[in-house]
Symmetry: C2
Amino acid sequence: MARPLSFDRTASLEAAMILFWQRGYQACALPDLLNAMNISRSSLYATFGDKRQLFIECLDLFFQRTFNPLCQTPSQPRETKNQGDKNSDYSLISIEHFFRYTILQVPKKRRACGCLLVNTVLEMAEQDRELSALASEKLTKVEQYFIRCFAKAKAGKTLNTDASAEDLGQLCMTLNQGLRVASRQGRSQQELESILNNSLKMLGIHSQKENT
Amino acid sequence: MARPLSFDRTASLEAAMILFWQRGYQACALPDLLNAMNISRSSLYATFGDKRQLFIECLDLFFQRTFNPLCQTPSQPRETKNQGDKNSDYSLISIEHFFRYTILQVPKKRRACGCLLVNTVLEMAEQDRELSALASEKLTKVEQYFIRCFAKAKAGKTLNTDASAEDLGQLCMTLNQGLRVASRQGRSQQELESILNNSLKMLGIHSQKENT
DNA sequence: ATAGTTCTGGACTGATCAGTTCAGAATAAA
DNA sequence: TTTATTCTGAACTGATCAGTCCAGAACTAT
């Protein structure tokens, strides 16, 4: 009945996410965002509320994009789209795939952004507790998935260790966070791959790719 | 011959460092800094140049405060003050002491700040490469010290592993960065201690305190 | 074509930012 | 006390910030 939106909502949202990911929340000025999203000021406020609400949507989108490849291993492709939680196999392979996929198999520019959730936790910790907590909760969900993976691997005798699944998952998240810092530090693909291989080895995840 | 400064330069610098540590570079507005440092606007510009130069001095100060406890283990207290590099023993105990000292034996408020260097690397990565690189270099110095510690431990048969000292040091730094993220996430003392113990165990550093 | 609705560019708001300036207060030496 | 020097409070600069507003453009359904 009336004029339709002249832009693709999700495309604009993704553009905003990428800019926030690169620069952080505070350093993204509205004109930069509008330019990247290719929409006008009024449209942003009409469609997304304000800068903060837009950012929250970006956190959600980023989480989906991060969590899905973790639940959906390449061997088990597209079937369980909904939650990605019920039918997945929680295997250690999915953890390895997650790291390799999100750190190595990614263009250099993206890799150097680190992780939006980690970046947000640090940036907003004293600035906006709610945003920081939001990002933190999402990281916790990932950690819980790690824990389930280790628990299943231990139960299935795939993994032989005296450490508890909780401890392993926690450590896995600690290494993950450290790796994201290293990524944003601008370390080279080789360095990151080396750190990653050593991390996986240490967690008892023996890579297929490096055993040759 | 003339009026002396009405404030203690180093005390003001430390106050600025703490504020930057808590809030990050961008979120520290000049009025907040002036208030914390208890000096006037003109004095700040006369004494420290500008906000950016002040921040650089704060990075240096933070590095000193972080690196010294690493070089000076409690067993080897105050003698080697100058560089802390020549005479130190590079033992694994110094690594353990470093972590326990800077993460656990610290008031809650400080712990929740994480690490100024890590925070800065992330915040300034796309904002001010030079500042980010400055913080990054300091982290690299710490990593190199880790590596020397592991090398010496391996040579002295204190540590038995097939991993190289370089890999161990790199991993140690990855865990360190992950722990600082976890700290700023606001995790409890217990959680951090658990992660820390598991990290040390994984690196082959067997704590005295948890063997009871 | 017309009418009805929705979208959007650009101007505007008041607040805040980092950095500059300078008159006058404060000090030390004479 | 006077003088020379230095420090400092407060006002000012121009730029930029997030968010508001509205007149007019753009589109659909009739």
